[in-house]
């Protein structure tokens, strides 16, 4: 299994890094290169963004992060580019790669910390705690974890009032007229389930696959989610294609556009995004008293959290 290989690889990497890790007495790493958008987002949320010397191309939130030096795409990072930034730590998602580039970086003596698991909704707090420890700002990490608890509580509150689960379809893109939709075992599937929906494509396939017209008609989703600028009402393209034209989602005008990094980034904003999705899936449910959306829903607003 691929999962086993990655676990094996990353655990051996962790072992390596623990040997290489200089003891950060009280400072933590000073010049960090980040490979993975959610890590960047967490460091910004901790208020430690001045330590970031380079980011990968998935680090698009907040907008300021995308102005930092680019090291390439998370799975295709560049050795010399990273070394030229003189980092003292490479902090990366589990899918940071290619493996041979990572090995080269470690051979040059650069301390690296690669997370062993892929992002998931339940792991956000743990990730924050780990990063806060690496940066030696434990209290800030603790504060951020507590901050997120409000979103977790709100989600529980919303889901308590729900007894029916709408059929949801997550559409990645409409390129070449074939909608690419989320099956089982990916971030979109996870947030749909967490927000109290049923991913109709999950029983048919894993990962992201193009969907045939008649299969889409047979699925007949109650809600369609797609990525776009937050709150944008330009869901017309999706409503036009024959796949969805006749679905309940289009009939009842329930095609939702949500910012991709907000909902699927699995960073500190995602718990709130799931609460928001839950309220969209269950319009009758109410939010707890005093709870409001605090995090930016799109990268255009110039605030991080």
């Amino acid at each position: 299994m691929k999962a086993q290989i990655t676990t094996l690889l990353t655990s051996s990497l962790l072992l390596l890094t623990s040997l290489l890790q200089p003891t950060y007495a009280d400072q933590g790493a000073k010049n960090i290169v980040v490979s993975g958008g959610s890590i960047t987002e967490i460091i910004y949320a901790l208020g430690e963004e001045n330590r970031i010397v380079g980011v990968d191309s998935t680090s698009v939130f907040p907008v300021a992060a995308s102005h930092k030096p680019q090291i390439g795409y998370v799975r295709k990072i560049n050795v010399e580019g990273i070394l030229s930034l003189n980092p003292d730590l490479l902090l990366g998602e589990a899918d940071t790669g290619p493996d041979k580039v990572l090995t080269q970086l470690q051979d040059t003596g650069l301390p690296t910390y690669i997370f062993s698991d892929n992002d998931n909704l339940a792991g956000v707090e743990e990730k924050i705690t780990t990063i806060a420890e690496l940066l030696a700002v434990k209290e800030k990490g603790q504060a951020l974890v507590e901050y997120i608890q409000a979103d977790r509580k709100a989600l529980t509150h919303v889901l308590k009032q729900v007894n029916n689960k709408p059929k949801v379809l997550f559409v990645l893109s409409l390129r070449s007229g074939q909608p690419i939709v989320a099956g089982a075992g990916n971030s979109a599937d996870e947030v749909i389930n967490a927000a109290g929906g049923v991913n109709v494509a999950a029983q048919h396939f894993d990962g992201w696959k193009p969907l045939a017209t008649e299969a889409a008609i047979a699925m007949n989703p109650d809600v369609i989610i797609s990525m776009g600028r937050h709150g944008e009402q330009k869901a017309t393209d999706l409503s036009q294609v024959p796949h969805f034209k006749f679905s309940n989602a289009v009939k009842n005008n329930r095609v939702i556009l949500i910012d991709g990094t907000y909902l699927l980034g699995m960073g500190p904003r995602t718990p709130q995004a799931v609460v928001e999705l839950a309220t969209l899936l269950h319009p009758d449910a109410t939010l707890p008293n005093g709870y409001r959306f605090r995090a930016a829903q799109s990268a255009s607003e110039n605030e991080s959290l």
């Binding site: 680019q70 295709k76 010399e80 580019g81 030229s84 930034l85 041979k100 990962g207």
Partner: protein, 351 residues
Amino acid sequence: MLALEQSLIPAEVARKWMLLGLIIGCIVVSFIGLTSGGVSISYSRLMDILFAGQSSNLEHAVIWQIRLPRLVLAIVVGAGLGACGAAMQAIFRNPLADPGLIGISSGAALGAISTIVLGSTLLSGFADYYGIYAVPIGAFLGCLGVCSLIYRLSSQGNRFTIVSLLLAGIAVNAIVGAVIGILTLISSDQQLRDLTFWSMGSLAGNSFTTIIPSLCLMLACCFGFSRLAQPLNLYLLGEQQARHLGVDVVRLKKKVFAYTALCTGAAVALTGIIGFVGFIVPHIVRLLIGPDHRYLLPASMLGGAILLCLADLLARTLILPSELPIGLITSALGGPFFLIMLVKTYRIKEL
């Protein structure tokens, strides 16, 4: 057609000078490549690191573990692709031929993509056992497998004609394309991204230990090609004429085919698909010094090495700290240059 009298540098002496110039060019490009990059290292520091056995520090690691293997790889892959292209164009008697034409590249792609997509399920033992070597080995085996299939198809009754080779290549290419399509369809999104990157080509991330087997193979093939210069020259006169002059034509074709398969397979296994080099370099060299393979083959090797080193240098440095796919650069460099050469040749013909 590869007419014998078209060349910009007709004199034999001038061709020798040209080869010398290419060698010098290759050395110059190598040094430029070693000194420039994300981590700045001055020329004098480079000399210290290379020849004075420095202790292990960052600069030392960058040169010995990152830049030098990458440079050597660029030189050998460039030379190999250049030589393969030159030999292919001679055998097909067509300046537009390249290794991709007879299914070699697609065979390697099939092997690599099968390993990427099925490596965790059907072939899990294979991927586990070889780790980071799995994809290169897969690519190489795929290349050899597809090539031997094409060879079997086109050498029915020991004829091995160019037409049958071409047709077999086209047919196998189509089948392989379909299989790759199916594999792409059943791949997970991570595998899909991996195979997309693989098909864009890159020289990154290789150390000496990973490249040595392929290097030996490519160098052996380059040596093999250089020994075919004389028979290839005779072959250009026409198959019948070459046969009357004592060239075993079928054997020559088989040799060229085998060397090309081994060499391209070894190159593609390490770097992914880098198009254009095997096609453009021999063509340009032929425009310059004519189709005499005693000069054309070595000049194509050197030219390929220079082109790939330059392309890799640009790929590494243009958008620091990230990196461009090298295939993009080879096309961007080669295309305009090729056009200029073409226009120049026509002008010479008119005079």
